[in-house]
């Protein structure tokens, strides 16, 4: 190989990233829009989505997508920032859903009260039940969180409590369609930006430290189990919130809330969207859930398409859409002579 003709591609940060780290010195409208555009596209895009879809069916699909997006967000937060692989999305949905159903039908709470109630109390219940495996490292959390939804569904079935296999019926719906469409979207955006902020605070730094090296965190005088349980509480609160919303949309709560779909689809969405970006998994849900609806005509064959999409992503773009997209947006490439 002759050395004279060699060249390589280098990646250069765009000007505004280089000048300051974190605190941006904004000099022009162009720079302002460079920073604000991606966020605005997301917010405005999500908010006008229900308006663009005249069909009631597709509006409902968007709402269900939001439910999955909450779960994907909570999965990504736990997996990438705390190092806990949660397979318990269905558990969070189930607990939140049943709590909201019970509060609404047995105690007569209105929906605007049952949803926060189910989220906050459900988060506490989930954290308490998952607590025993938090001091441990390794696969225990994943296994236990996978077992709980199966276990809960069988308990409700066997003991015939909370309506047994029939479920709880006669739950109040949302007062109007506008609320039904925009409450999940609005809450999703709030949760997304809140978690993004959270992981950059000091508390978030400790959480990431727990993932990297929990012994070093312990040696710095911090209680690893405490930090893990707070993180699990935050993640399970989001999961329970989505479960509570789902119950009020369907006006019914049953053991299908503990279905494995709620655990698996968010993970697939995280693979497609790019783990660790938080927005990636949300975007992944907005791709996967509608595709899954479009393929409904194919019956069980849609699992095949689904699997093909996933495998394709893992082979050709294993970093995920958003990791790729963010790099393209923040850096440019050029050839340099060596």
């Amino acid at each position: 190989m002759a050395i004279t003709t060699q060249r390589r591609k280098e990646r250069i940060d765009r000007g505004i990233n280089v000048r300051t780290e974190g605190i941006y010195a904004l000099m022009s409208i162009k720079e302002l829009s460079y920073l604000a555009a991606p966020r605005l596209v997301l917010i405005v895009g999500l908010l006008i989505l229900p308006l663009l879809l005249p069909d009631m069916y597709w509006k409902r699909v968007i709402t269900i997508t939001c439910i999955y997006a909450f779960l994907a967000l909570s999965f990504d937060f736990l997996a990438h920032f705390v190092g806990l692989v949660s397979l318990g999305g269905a558990f969070f949905v189930g607990i939140g859903g049943y709590l909201a159903a019970i509060a609404n039908t047995y105690w007569g709470f209105p929906p605007w009260l049952t949803i926060p109630f189910a989220a906050l109390v459900g988060g506490a219940v989930c954290t308490l039940l998952l607590f025993p495996c938090l001091p441990l490292r390794g696969v225990y959390f994943a296994i236990v969180s996978l077992m709980y939804p199966l276990f809960s569904a069988r308990v409700i079935e066997a003991l015939d409590i909370f309506g047994g296999t029939d479920g709880i019926m006669g739950i109040d719906g949302f007062s109007n369609h506008f609320v039904e469409e925009y409450a999940p979207l609005g809450l999703l955006l709030i949760a997304l930006f809140a978690i993004r902020r959270l992981v950059t605070t000091d508390f978030g730094l400790v959480l990431r430290g727990v993932k990297d090296n929990d012994q070093a965190i312990r040696a710095s005088g911090m209680n690893v189990t405490f930090y893990k349980s707070v993180a699990v509480y935050i993640a399970s609160t989001m999961g329970c919130l989505s479960g509570a919303i789902l119950v009020h949309i369907y006006m019914w709560s049953g053991i299908s809330l503990f279905a494995l779909d709620f655990s698996i689809l968010p993970i697939a969405a995280t693979v497609i969207g790019g783990s660790g970006t938080l927005i990636g998994p949300v975007l992944g849900c907005f791709i996967l859930v509608p595709i899954s609806e479009l393929l409904r005509d194919f019956g069980t064959l849609r699992i095949v398409f689904y699997a093909l999409i996933l495998v394709g992503f893992i082979i050709f773009r294993s970093e995920g859409l958003m990791v790729w997209g963010q790099r393209k947006y923040h850096q440019f490439e050029r050839w340099t002579q060596i």
Binding site: M1, Q6, R8, S318, E319, V323, W324, I338
Partner: protein, 251 residues
């Protein structure tokens, strides 16, 4: 035997190796000396091919882009695009920095994993030789790797590398974190391996003093460039080397 010409390695835009050329003849010990961040480990990874593996993993995770240039010739054959496993089959064996032994396997299991590619009689012969070289390991055969002391782990790492039947052995910082006594034991063992097994050895180290007595030829790396090279005597006579690497001030 092994010759690298104009090696350049970029970690994204950072230059880790800048036009480094080294060579190692048959049955010779070559030392590579340099401070932290001089590029010693990168050079070893490049020679062993591990860097191709790192490059692939980073690309899949969307991380840093690793760029490599230059040529590596081994027994007259260009190998710079050969996978690490194929290079190991050809006899280029890396004994990595910080030992990286299999922590949950016992000593004997570690050695057997190392000898996976060797034929049964070869493995048996080498195993006997490793135990002769490091008698301590013989008594610790059943001990789990993670519970060995630092020195024992280093012996195990070298033993494991020998089991793979190297023709050229790459020792990356074998003396890291060892006591002076253990250092001198290991260095003598290294010379003995070279003489007995008739193989070439490349050894990197931060401190030249303990390793210098056994090397035939040495290179000094600074900030990714090979700034100096020579036989042991040439380097020992060089006033810059004497002051920078041996702390001997000229009067």
């Amino acid at each position: 035997m092994l010759e690298a010409k104009g090696l350049m390695v970029f970690y994204e835009n950072m230059l880790a190796l800048n036009n480094v050329s080294i060579k190692c003849a048959d049955n010779q010990i070559v030392g590579i000396f340099g401070a932290n961040s001089a590029g010693k480990s990168t050079l070893m990874y490049t020679l062993a091919g591990i860097i191709l593996d790192m490059q692939k993993k980073e690309a899949m995770a969307g991380g840093e882009r690793i760029t490599m240039m230059g040529e590596i010739r081994y027994q007259g054959e260009e190998i710079s695009h050969l996978k690490p496993s194929l290079r190991a089959r050809k006899g280029i064996i890396l004994c990595p920095e910080r030992r990286r032994i299999f922590k949950e396997s016992s000593v004997i299991e570690n050695l057997r994993i190392g000898g996976y590619l060797a034929s049964a009689p070869q493995a048996k012969k080498t195993l006997a030789y490793v135990f002769e070289l490091f008698p301590t390991l013989k008594h610790l055969q059943k001990r789990i790797g993670g519970f060995l002391s630092g020195g024992e782990q280093q012996m195990l790492a070298i033993g494991r590398a020998l089991m793979a039947q190297p023709k050229i052995l790459l020792l990356d910082e074998p003396l890291l974190g060892l006591s002076p006594l253990m250092q001198s034991n290991l260095i003598h063992a290294t010379r003995e391996i070279c003489n007995k097994m008739q193989i070439a050895i490349i050894v990197t180290e931060q401190y030249a003093r303990p390793v210098m007595p056994i090397v035939d030829y040495a290179f000094i790396l600074e900030n990714g460039s090979a700034v100096l090279e020579g036989t042991r005597q040439e380097l020992m006579d060089n006033p810059d080397v004497r002051s920078a690497y041996f702390g001997i001030e000229e009067s």
